[in-house]
């Protein structure tokens, strides 16, 4: 089916280019049938890319090694679960995934807007298909997933072991969904700017896509952090890696938009700012894809490296230049309809929060790209690393958390001093109480962390206060039981309370980050069995080594695992038993690498020994030194090389001879592996006791829950539209009543 796949890419390219031309021709000449045809081109592209994706997935599932991408990134022994995920471990599959997701989201938004803002949608169609043209072209001409070989290998290279992790099934599609969803508001912003119809309708129609992109990107970022923590074996969850930053920047930008767009919806303000944020988020999404796919900056995501830089830079230049040009052209139409009433208002808090978020984006952008900037200026590529981020990001994060607490408890437009006192008293008192308790407890060595704990408490108490007051207000009207009133007040105000819950999740997450990064106890120790090391009061004893040689279904070597069992105790009481493993994978056949050496020469990954609870994680990873084995490995290489050289080509080609040699090699490798247990040598462990790490994952789950709540459709609002029309018509003489009807219709239970 490879020829079908290749043809589908070309066909997709033709359809995308046709759709661009048809949409623009239709809207410019007033021929709606051409606009409809352009929209159908998007649907068709989605259909074609779906078929292409199915063909690629089927090739992976069948281990069809005539596809180059399949033998390079999978093998017959790759578990089916990971075969499904293997396409996006490759450059070629990633590009196809990008364009497939883009075509699906584009089809969805164009279907939803098929009878609305059709002139804006026509230009948006052209922009979305422009992105599709770019990515289909890359997939068709630069990194085609459907290229084949006439001499397929009997076995594939397999999936990079680092990607053999459950989060890798979801992490990349989440990020790519986030990136591709960001192109939707981008495209509609361009359409609105071109047509000059810069009212609220295009924003109302695409807001959910912005929120969905925020949710997908955020989930992808957290899953990446979880993967880093449990798979990479360095003991952290966030390394300020360029690819991590590439996802974080558009997420911060779209977070700013999700807040500031409310000001435009309510007050008609910040139009230039909002359209800039939408265009900026879309551009950062492409920049993120570029960073992952180009390999331009050194990253732990080295499996994504390639040379796609020039086309991406051209696209980014077009997006930035075109976006700025359109905003300048339409600057008069983007004038604000109102002014800020007071600095003591939610609008002002949102505005300040936007500045903080964009400050973070600027800092992250500058430091991430500093190696390239320094190379351009001085000729030397200087990487400044994670410490460069902290002096800027930590204070900004503190301000952000403070604002996340103030936002939910301050009213729109203006507030009085008395109301401020009433609403802030409890949360501020709780924050201060937290600070006092921690100081009294002697936790005074990390001022930024202390500030984060106090501010986080302020946010949490503020959100709880809002939930309680909301439920109480509903109870006053309905006399419902408190839990029911709480559920119903949240259900009927999903956007508001979903947002509050997100803020609570953010506070919990950042408390976890502050605690785990400020109060981590870490030691690298070298132990032999029976020896112990102490970390933050925990005695960790290396009980015994373990080893395991894994083979695949054909009997070929899959991995060699050297591990350890460690017992953790505190004050003489047993706490837990940890098991950690370092797995070595064989390299593909390489000239110059001996037949035994090759068993250890591929990539390696770690299984972390982890005990986690609400107060702390005890984390360990083994890093066995292979040097004591090296002499025996070299000896084995020489024995088998001599054996191979002693064979005639005819003998070497005989299956029985080859099988015998393979069996002997397996025996030798098993013997080597047993050495780790029978003659244990000192091995290095990284031992970490880290407080409140679990809070990070709990906070993230709460954020996702709150995001889903805010994203959920609001059927009551849809119902109220029809009721509103009848209300207006039935009370033409009374100007107050229709509004009362609307408000009541939305307030009261259906």
């Amino acid at each position: 089916m490879a020829p079908v796949g290749r043809t589908l890419l070309i066909l997709g390219l033709v359809v995308a280019v046709y759709g661009i031309c048809a949409s623009i021709y239709g809207v410019r000449t007033g021929r709606p049938q051409w606009v409809d045809s352009g929209r159908r081109a998007v649907y068709s592209l989605a259909g074609l890319m779906t078929v292409a994706w199915v063909i690629l997935e089927a090739a992976f599932l069948r281990s069809d090694f005539t596809f180059n991408v399949v033998w390079q990134h999978s093998s017959t022994t790759t578990p089916t679960f990971y075969k499904l995920a293997a396409p996006w471990s490759s450059q070629e599959g990633s590009l196809l995934l990008w364009v497939w997701l883009l075509s699906l989201w584009s089809s969805l938004i164009l279907f939803l807007t098929r009878r609305r803002i059709r002139d804006i949608a026509a230009y948006a169609t052209a922009v979305l298909l422009g992105f599709a043209t770019f990515f289909v072209s890359l997939a068709a001409f630069f990194a085609n997933p459907f290229t084949t070989t006439s001499t397929p290998p009997a076995q594939g290279s397999g999936l990079d072991p680092l990607l053999l992790h459950p989060t890798m099934m979801i992490h990349p599609p989440m990020l790519y969904s986030g990136y591709t969803l960001l192109t939707v508001p981008f495209a509609f912003a361009v359409g609105a700017l071109i047509t000059g119809k810069l009212g609220s309708e295009w924003i109302a129609l695409t807001r959910r896509f912005a929120l969905a992109s925020w949710l997908f990107l955020g989930t992808g970022i957290v899953l990446g952090a979880l993967w880093s923590y449990t798979e990479l074996g360095w003991g952290g969850y966030w390394a300020w890696d360029p690819v991590e930053n590439a996802a974080l920047m558009p997420w911060l930008c779209i977070t700013a938009f999700i807040h500031s767009v409310m000001i435009q919806e309510k007050r008609g303000m910040l139009k230039v700012w909002n359209v800039s944020l939408v265009l900026g988020s879309g551009t950062l999404a492409i920049l993120g894809t570029f960073l992952v796919r180009s390999g331009i900056l050194d990253s732990i995501h080295a499996f994504g490296a390639s040379t796609l830089g020039v086309p991406f830079v051209a696209l980014l230049a077009l997006m930035i230049g075109g976006g700025l040009g359109l905003i300048l052209w339409r600057r008069r139409l983007l004038a604000s309809e109102a002014r800020l009433d007071s600095l003591l208002s939610r609008e002002a808090v949102f505005l300040f929060q936007n500045l903080v978020l964009m400050g973070m984006v600027v800092v992250i952008f500058w430091i991430t790209f500093f190696p390239l900037i320094s190379e351009a200026v001085t000729g030397n590529k200087i990487s400044v690393g994670p410490p460069a981020f902290r002096p800027f990001i930590v204070p900004l994060a503190l301000v952000l958390v403070a604002l996340a607490g103030i936002g939910p408890i301050i009213a729109w437009r203006r507030v009085t001093a008395a109301n401020l006192r009433r609403n802030f008293l409890l949360p501020v008192a709780a924050g201060l109480a937290c600070l006092v308790v921690l100081l009294a407890d002697g936790v005074d060595s990390r001022p930024f962390a202390l500030a984060m704990f106090a501010l986080g408490t302020f946010v949490l108490v503020g959100v709880v206060q809002e939930l309680v007051r909301g439920a109480a207000a509903r109870r006053a009207m309905t006399r419902e039981a408190p839990p029911l009133a709480l559920v119903r007040v949240i259900r009927r105000n999903r956007r508001r309370y979903g947002g509050y819950i997100v803020h609570a999740g953010l506070a919990i997450l950042l408390i976890g980050v502050a605690a785990s990064s400020s109060f981590q106890h870490s030691r690298q120790v070298t132990l032999t069995p029976g020896q112990s090391a102490s970390v933050n009061g925990y005695a960790i004893r290396y009980v015994k080594p373990t080893e395991h040689v894994a083979t695949d279904r054909s009997g070929a070597l899959a991995s060699i695992a050297f591990g350890a069992v460690l017992k953790v105790s505190r004050g003489g009481h047993r706490v837990t038993t940890l098991r950690t493993v370092r797995r070595f994978y064989p390299a593909p056949l390489t000239p110059g690498v001996g037949p035994i050496s090759i068993a250890f020469a591929g990539s390696a990954d770690s299984v972390v020994g982890l005990q986690t609870n609400l107060t702390h994680d005890i984390w360990t990873v083994i890093n066995p030194n292979l040097a004591p084995l090296q002499g025996r490995i070299n000896q084995g290489d020489r024995v088998f090389e001599r054996l191979m050289q002693s064979l005639t080509p005819a003998q070497a080609a005989q299956p029985t001879v080859r099988n015998t040699i393979a069996t002997e090699q397996a025996v030798a490798i098993n013997g080597l592996s047993r050495q780790f247990v029978t003659h244990p040598w000192p091995v290095t462990f990284l031992l970490i006791v880290d407080p409140l790490v679990l809070w990070i994952w709990i906070g993230a789950a709460i954020i996702v829950f709150g995001g889903l709540l805010a994203l959920w459709p609001i059927p009551v609002l849809l119902r109220s539209r029809s009721r509103a029309r009848s209300a207006v018509r039935s009370h033409p003489a009374s100007p107050r009543e229709p509004v009362l009807d609307h408000a009541t219709a939305m307030r009261e239970p259906a």
Partner: protein, 103 residues
Amino acid sequence: MDLVVIMVLLGLVVVFVSAPLRRVAPSVGLPPEMTTGDPEPELRELETARDAKLRELRDAELDHRTGKLSDQDYQALDASLRAEAIEILRSMDQARDHAEHPG
């Protein structure tokens, strides 16, 4: 087999994408939604503004009930929002009348 699949997909795409172009004598000129002077897009813009204003009314009421707005502030804000909402509803009526009785 591959050729058959490709031809079938090509045929489906051509038929599907060209369907709007094969409809009977579509007149030149944008449909009502795509004409700037037509009330439909204006009406939809007004509907969006109305929904936002109603949300704002509702938010203000919830802010009042949960103690974020004093009685005095709420009454002033509510009156102002209601006036803005009524203005939008009137504009919607006018847009509807204009659509039903053009000229």
